[in-house]
């Protein structure tokens, strides 16, 4: 185990709920004067209870974490889990309420797009400004400026004020500066979200090489599991101000994705479901009911049976149904269809029952995007109605081996047969 460069030691960050103080000196003085006379606070609204000491919110609840040299640590969790608060503490934007953080080496955080950029200054001047804000010396920037400009892919516009830049160029420039920092620890919060795919890849490669070759440490926060997978050697999952898991990236991502509060419902009502406006709306799916089972954990040899109610808004000849299976990353992985199963007249309400085979899927959680559609003679598809998610189900873990979706995919095909030769 290499040496520890960051040690977060039982850190708690507390915020007071509600507004902080009265906002004006007069208000606070009034409240204070009322309190010492044991009178009612004149600034409280009627019915509002007096401020209690325990009305506090723990953004971070006694967390401890160690990061070692050369690691790329991913920090994942839902919104409000405390990821950004952790980064804020690490980058010294604010101080913890309790507990200490020990840091070895220079730490710098990558800025959110455009912070520390001045619109009137040119790209080149902004590189210097941004570098200085991040703690670089001018001489250092001068030494690296050619690399930075080349990396940013903004050579052509480097002497133009950045107010004329596109948002993509902004990010590229900001990342380029941060990537060339000499700091021992680099903090990045969701910065790769912008910029095109090619540049994202370039950034990840750059970060990987930073971490691997120069032994620097990276802490990366993101909701994009793909980049977390590519980048992080270790991952911590946060939830409600606590670290609930710390270890292998793949396991952490699984835990995070399954902790999503999806509802596995046997009856799904679509009357309030959002519909995109490109649909022809010739038919409306009203609800979906799962049949013949009392849980949505699908075991080996089981099928999913369900009944859908349709309402025809126009006459339809040959209605089709498409069930698109999405994995936990929300990428589509497979589709099952029912072609031309019904024709109907305007205003008619009818139901159909279907049965779906999901036996090839590997263990995990899946969501269904369901679409009712028509086709013309050429095979073109016209979606009449679509709902997301139509329903969500869990496929029971069935493989004997520890299935890694990242490497093995989402399907487990039937066991290979050994060919016996006479």
């Amino acid at each position: 185990m290499s040496e520890t460069v960051i040690k977060i030691d039982h850190v708690t960050k507390q915020y007071r709920l509600g507004t902080i103080g009265g906002g004006t000196l007069q208000g606070d003085l009034q409240s204070w004067w009322a309190r010492i006379r044991h009178k009612e606070d004149p600034n409280l609204k009627i019915g509002q209870k007096a401020y209690k000491k325990n009305e506090k919110f723990l953004a971070l609840d006694d967390i401890s974490l160690e990061v070692h040299k050369g690691e790329t640590l991913g920090l994942i969790g839902r919104n409000g889990a405390g990821k950004s608060t952790t980064l804020k503490l690490l980058s010294r934007v604010t101080a913890p309420t309790e507990g200490n953080i020990y840091i070895k080496g220079k730490i710098s955080s990558m800025l959110e797009v455009g912070t520390g950029f001045h619109p009137e200054l040119t790209g080149r001047e902004n590189i210097y400004l941004n570098g200085a804000i991040l703690g670089m010396k001018r001489a250092e920037v001068t030494k690296k400026i050619d690399d930075i400009i080349e990396f940013s892919e903004c050579e052509q516009f480097i002497d133009t004020p950045v107010k004329r830049y596109s948002s993509g160029m902004f990010v590229k420039l900001a990342f380029a500066v941060a990537a060339h920092l000499d700091s021992d620890i680099l903090i990045m919060d969701e910065v790769l979200a912008v910029g095109d795919m090619k540049f994202q890849k370039k950034c990840i490669d750059k970060m990987l090489s930073i971490a691997k070759n120069s032994g620097r440490t990276i802490i990366y926060v993101s909701h994009n599991m793909n980049t977390v997978r590519q980048l992080c050697s270790r991952c911590a999952v946060m939830s409600k101000g606590k670290i609930i898991f710390d270890g292998d990236t793949e396991k952490a991502i699984d835990l995070y994705l399954s902790s999503a509060d999806d509802e596995l419902l046997l009856y799904n009502d679509y009357s309030k479901t959002y519909r995109p406006n490109f649909l022809t709306a010739k038919v409306r799916m009203l609800d979906l009911e799962i049949l013949n089972r009392d849980s949505l954990l699908v075991k080996d040899g089981e099928r999913i049976d369900f009944r859908i109610h349709f309402r025809a808004e126009e006459d339809i000849d040959g209605l089709c149904l498409r069930m698109m299976v999405h994995n936990a990353d929300q990428s589509p992985i497979a589709t099952a269809c029912a072609t031309k199963f019904a024709s109907c007249r305007k205003g008619e309400i009818f139901s159909k029952e279907f049965s779906m085979d999901v036996s090839w899927l590997s263990g995990g959680r899946y969501k269904i995007l369901m679409a009712a559609y028509e086709t013309d003679e050429l095979g073109s598809v016209f979606d009449a109605d679509a709902v997301w998610p139509a329903f969500i189900f869990d496929r029971e873990k069935r493989s004997k081996l520890d299935w890694k979706s990242r490497y093995y995919g989402d399907f487990e095909l039937p066991e290979l047969k050994i060919i016996k030769r006479g």
Binding site: I20, G21, A95, I103, L111, L134
Partner: protein, 281 residues
């Protein structure tokens, strides 16, 4: 193991936890901020840097008309325009320092919320940047002095006190910085003070001998006016250039002590607030 850490982030810090070495390390940032301010301040204005000249000229002219011609306040025998110009040059440097540094936290919350650097860098930058317009005004004043001496043949007596002018400028910077950062530290919680600043500065100006000479102040008020740390500075500044009135020595020493106290408490308060101001701003 413990002593190997380069940074320890603690929940509470002592009152005297001020890292001046760190500010020195970030001197390049001060330079870049100055450059940024200079490049951006008069972008997309027609008159550009001419504004540096227009404002003091207009103010001094207005003072000449109102206080010199209409109110007919004595200027100790010095040409009225120069008299006001001298007071104004000193005062505007001080008031710029004070008003701009007082908005440090509220004005930079966006940047401060994203990245760490010693927060004192920003008010220090402001104070240095304000020197630019001060020097331009000073040069303008010297040109006008030459005009009054050689063309109009007025008697103006710049004297040995000129050597102390740099000290006065530094003191004004320190005082403006000290008061400004005290206000900025308090405005993170109470915005009332930011309203008070603009108002307070103009009141403070009238408590300082700018539109009137010290000699015109009634005896019973002199003692009070001399408690104002800016009064002896402006008085001595004007004395150095124009030789009008008498230099104040005792009250200047007092004013230096007051400045030191303000700056000391300002820096302490500021560094205390900077750690957690993001939670309250």
């Amino acid at each position: 193991m413990q002593d190997e850490w380069t940074t320890v982030i603690k929940p509470k810090t002592g009152w005297f936890d001020i890292n001046l070495k760190e500010i020195w390390y970030y001197r390049d940032l001060i330079y870049m901020f100055l450059k940024r301010n200079f490049t951006s301040s008069y972008k997309q204005t027609i008159l550009g840097p001419l504004w540096f000249l227009i404002t003091p000229l207009m103010t001094s002219s207005m003072f000449t008309v109102v206080f010199g011609q209409i109110a007919q306040i004595s200027t100790d025998g010095v040409p009225q325009f120069l008299f006001y110009m001298a007071g104004n040059t000193a005062w505007s440097y001080f008031s710029t320092c004070l008003t701009s540094t007082s908005a440090t936290f509220t004005g930079n919350a966006g940047l401060f919320g994203k990245v760490y650097f010693p927060r004192l860098v920003t008010p220090i930058t402001t104070v240095i940047y304000a020197l630019l317009s001060f020097f331009i005004q000073l040069v303008l004043m010297l040109i006008l002095m030459a005009f009054f001496v050689f063309v109009r043949g007025e008697a103006i007596r710049p004297n040995i006190w000129l050597l102390l002018v740099p000290l006065m400028v530094i003191q004004m910077a320190m005082l403006g910085l000290g008061v400004g950062i005290i206000i900025s530290s308090l405005t993170t919680k109470y915005r009332d003070l930011s309203i008070l600043v603009g108002f307070g500065v103009s009141l403070w100006m009238y408590a300082t001998p700018i539109v009137y000479p010290m000699s015109q102040v009634p005896e019973f008020l002199q003692g009070i006016i001399k408690l104002n740390p800016m009064a002896p500075i402006v008085n001595n500044f004007r004395y150095a250039f124009l030789g009008s009135g008498t230099p104040e020595i005792g009250s200047w020493l007092l004013s230096m002590a007051v400045t030191a106290v303000f700056l000391f408490f300002g820096v302490i308060l500021f560094s205390r607030v900077e750690k957690t101001f993001m939670d309250t701003v």
